[in-house]
């Protein structure tokens, strides 16, 4: 399956659209306290907001001419960012379309169907905003085109990856016909093991999906006005792609699976940001090494010592005696004093870190201050490296006995950590001034 095998009749003008579903403020609460300061899609990992990584994945696909970002965040929370990045991607039109309420995955697409259909794209890409990774979008498009060329009528191609038996039940599980890759069974978060093939939340979708959603929409509307469905905090117009489309349609045989074992991860909890940060930095190493620190040798004594993959914003001041890395991102206007050691962490913009301090497995929020000789440390919850296909464990905040589970440490914005203290496995809410050491606590 290569680009040269495009089926006849597709023409030179073929265009694709991309839809990124970012949800709204009620989503992403597990990302607190970081999502208190900024909408989760704008949270930077590897120096770039989460959503921008997804935009960049779409821009890589030559046929993508327009990216539509769907969500119910207030427009002024998202559009200034879109305005900022638009000049970086001149070949693609990027727009934010605000849902008036929470419409869920398919509901949102249906609501803005005219925007998606405009320009007559052959198909469109859907990406859930809470995943990160190295998506084979071009390959998926080709896979779907090839199916069409061979006389099939693919409605949806689902990007899938392998999980462990144990972890698979936390995802959408797919059973397929191994030869045709057609989906034969789909279940969302089953109680018992169904399949280790899981849904990555990335799709290539045919425009034929709209009549199907339309039918569901009409049925739900009728049921609602007959009083047969209740709105439990969500509107009857809320339609989920997985529950309402994929699950009922497996019998039709026109849903397909495209497998990838490239990097992929959910980014639901703040803890997973550290993991996603590492994954994206590793992707820079393969694709855009110029984004990584230490690649512009020749600056002499003015650059700190770097270990592994590190992103440092050009405006950040990092003392040459520091040791940074691996897997660290340092944001805009950050100042880091002599002898500081940082590993496996994200330091957000305008933060000051004083001399001799150590930071590990921590997210330091915007405008924070950390004194001298302090230690800010979390516990990684990385996937088990000894288990193939293991994913990040999204452990609950609290253990069964009511104790906080050890996790990465998160400092909200404007947090002040004094000199010579230790902050271990703790979550500190914004604007807090600590006056002593803390371990395993949430500090309100």
């Amino acid at each position: 399956m290569t680009a040269t095998d495009l089926p006849p009749g597709c023409g030179d003008q073929e265009i694709t659209k991309a839809v990124i579903l970012i949800g709204g403020p009620q989503k992403g609460t597990r990302f607190r306290p970081l999502s208190l300061d900024v909408p989760k899609p704008l949270f930077p990992v590897a120096g770039v907001p989460l959503i921008q990584h997804l935009i960049e994945a779409c821009v890589q696909v030559p046929s993508v001419k327009e990216i539509l970002i769907l969500g119910y965040f207030a427009s002024d929370e998202i559009t200034p960012f879109i305005g900022e990045i638009r000049p970086l991607y001149p070949t693609v039109r990027i727009r934010y379309l605000q849902e008036y309420t929470r419409l869920d995955t398919a509901g949102g697409i249906y609501h803005f169907r005219d925007q998606i259909k405009a320009g007559n794209p052959s198909s469109f890409i859907i990406i859930n905003g809470d995943v990160g990774g190295d998506f084979p979008l071009q390959e998926m498009l080709e896979f779907q085109s090839n199916l069409k060329a061979s006389g099939k009528t693919p409605l949806l191609t689902i990007l899938a990856t392998e999980a462990t038996r144990q972890q698979s039940v936390n995802y959408g599980c797919i059973v397929e016909n191994k030869e045709t890759h057609a989906v034969t069974h789909y279940v969302e978060k089953p109680e018992t093991f169904v399949s280790a093939t899981i849904n990555c939340g990335v799709y290539v979708c045919s425009l034929d999906i709209f009549p199907i959603i339309s039918k569901i929409y009409a049925t739900r509307q009728q049921l609602f006005y007959e009083g047969k469905i209740e709105e439990n905090g969500e509107t009857w117009e809320s339609i989920a792609l997985e529950r309402d489309i994929i699950m009922p349609l497996t019998a039709e045989g026109n849903l397909y699976v495209y497998h990838s074992n490239r990097m992929w991860s959910q980014v639901k909890t703040a803890g997973s940001a550290i993991y996603a940060n590492r994954q994206y930095l590793a992707m820079y190493r393969r694709r855009q090494p110029d984004r990584l620190a230490g690649c512009n040798k020749g600056k002499g004594d003015t650059t700190p010592r770097i270990l592994g993959d590190v992103y440092i914003h050009p405006s950040a001041q990092v003392h040459p005696s520091c040791l940074i890395g691996p897997n660290v991102s340092i944001g805009k206007n950050v100042t880091i004093g002599p002898g500081v050691r940082i590993r496996e962490s994200i330091v957000l913009g305008d933060t000051v870190i004083q001399d001799h301090t150590l930071i590990r497995y921590t997210i330091v929020g915007w405008n924070s201050y950390i004194g001298k000789w302090s230690r800010v440390e979390g516990t990684p919850c990385d996937p088990n490296p000894n288990k193939p296909f293991a994913k990040m464990e999204n452990v609950p905040l609290f253990h069964e006995d009511g104790k906080l589970n050890p996790s990465i440490t998160i400092l909200g914005c404007h947090v002040r950590v004094p000199s010579e203290v230790v902050v271990l496995n703790s979550i500190v809410l914004p604007y807090k001034e600590l006056s002593r050491s803390f371990s395993n606590e949430i500090i309100l």
Binding site: S321, P338, G339, V340, R341, R343, D355, H356, L358, R360, K372, W373, R375, E377, E420, V422, L424, S439
Partner: protein
């Protein structure tokens, strides 16, 4: 002139130091080294007592030992020669308690009729021996026991005495407050007291002193300065602070305190020590021979024993670092962490109240106080 005055008070007085047992309370420092040889403020604990005795004019000291006598004899040989003091090792083959060793060493102690000193080996204070002797000769009783005021008397043996100092009774670890004056572990006894002690395991506090008190032969001498039983790590560090503070205020101190950039408060550093740039050392730190401290290190309230190395940007508070330890970079140790000899602590490790046995390598953090075997 001072000399002759001293010797006129002390005369031919001898001393016995209860060096005693295994020093288990100060482990892991005392696993492979006798406690009296562990350095306190860059000098073996025992030498603090010996120096004070020698300065007061004592020329013969009996060391009542039950363990590692040979090692101590070897180590103290040159000391004895240098100071012109005779050290007699009285080796008990079975534990004899706190009084039994006096009976065992009787022949040395009663060679003349002079009173003699008895010292518990874990005590650190100003050792006002001359003043104590004057007090002893003045009251005329058989024994003098030094007492000191403490905040929490329930951990110690409390001494009850009248306004002249005559001891009325003893209360071992009283549950209810009776007095804040406790037995400080320094005594002067007339040789007659030896008649009261048999050669068997005997406690001087429980079996000898109460009898002496009831026959009105025991007097309490109140220590004026600081006092500490440094037999366990927490108290060792508290004692170090008290000692440095006291010496720091003493205009006649023999200690050479370090001063200069990056030094805060009373800091005792051996001349051989190398300290890097941008460090902050002190207050209340002692650093032993040949220690190397790299750049950007912060040390407060710690004893670092000889031959150790502290890696750059590390932070240490309230720790005892044993001999020849290697502490990595960006290490944090606090809360009475004690490292035995030759412990290696890897870069970026955090140790909170860890007691680490000798020759151990620590590669991951210990965030809750515990013993690391």
């Amino acid at each position: 002139m001072m000399k002759s005055e001293e010797s006129s008070i002390i005369g031919n007085m001898k001393a016995l130091i209860l060096v005693g047992g295994y020093g288990t309370r100060l482990r892991p420092l005392t696993l492979f080294r006798p406690k009296p040889l562990v350095e306190f403020a860059n000098k073996p604990i025992l030498e603090h007592q010996l120096d004070a005795l020698v300065d007061a004019g004592v020329r013969q000291v009996v060391l009542a030992v039950s363990y590692r006598a040979e090692e101590m004899e070897q180590e103290l040989k040159t000391y004895a020669e240098r100071k012109g003091v005779k050290l007699i090792f009285s080796h008990e083959t079975e534990p004899l308690g706190t009084a039994g060793p006096l009976a065992l060493a009787r022949k040395y102690l009663e060679s003349d009729s002079e009173p003699f000193f008895v010292l518990n080996s874990d005590i650190i204070c100003d050792f006002p021996f001359k003043d104590m002797v004057a007090f002893h000769k003045n009251h005329g009783g058989e024994g003098t026991i030094a007492v000191t005021k403490v905040e929490e008397p329930s951990k110690y043996g409390v001494v009850i005495y009248d306004e002249k100092g005559k001891v009325e009774s003893f209360m071992e670890k009283p549950q209810e407050f009776v007095s804040n004056k406790i037995n400080a572990g320094l005594y002067i006894l007339n040789s007659k007291v030896l008649d009261r002690i048999e050669l068997r395991p005997t406690s001087i506090e429980k079996e000898i002193f109460p009898v002496m008190a009831s026959s009105q032969q025991l007097y309490a001498y109140e220590l004026k300065g600081y006092w500490m039983d440094i037999g366990q790590p927490k108290d060792f560090l508290t004692g170090m602070c008290l000692y440095l503070q006291s010496e720091g205020q003493n205009s006649e101190t023999k200690l050479k305190f370090r001063a200069g950039a990056g030094i805060v408060g009373n800091v005792l550093v051996d001349e051989s020590v190398k300290i890097g740039s941008n460090c902050r050392i002190g207050p209340n730190v002692t650093i032993g021979k040949d220690v190397v401290i790299e750049d950007g290190v912060c040390i407060k309230r710690c004893t670092v024993l000889s031959g150790s190395k502290i890696g750059s940007h590390s932070w240490l508070d309230s720790c005892i670092v044993g001999w020849k330890c290697k502490i990595g970079q960006w290490v944090r140790m606090e809360n009475v962490t004690v490292l035995g000899e030759d412990v290696i602590v890897d870069d970026e490790v955090y140790i909170n109240g860890g007691k680490v046995l000798p020759h151990k390598a620590i590669s991951s953090s210990v965030s809750v106080p515990q013993i690391i075997m």
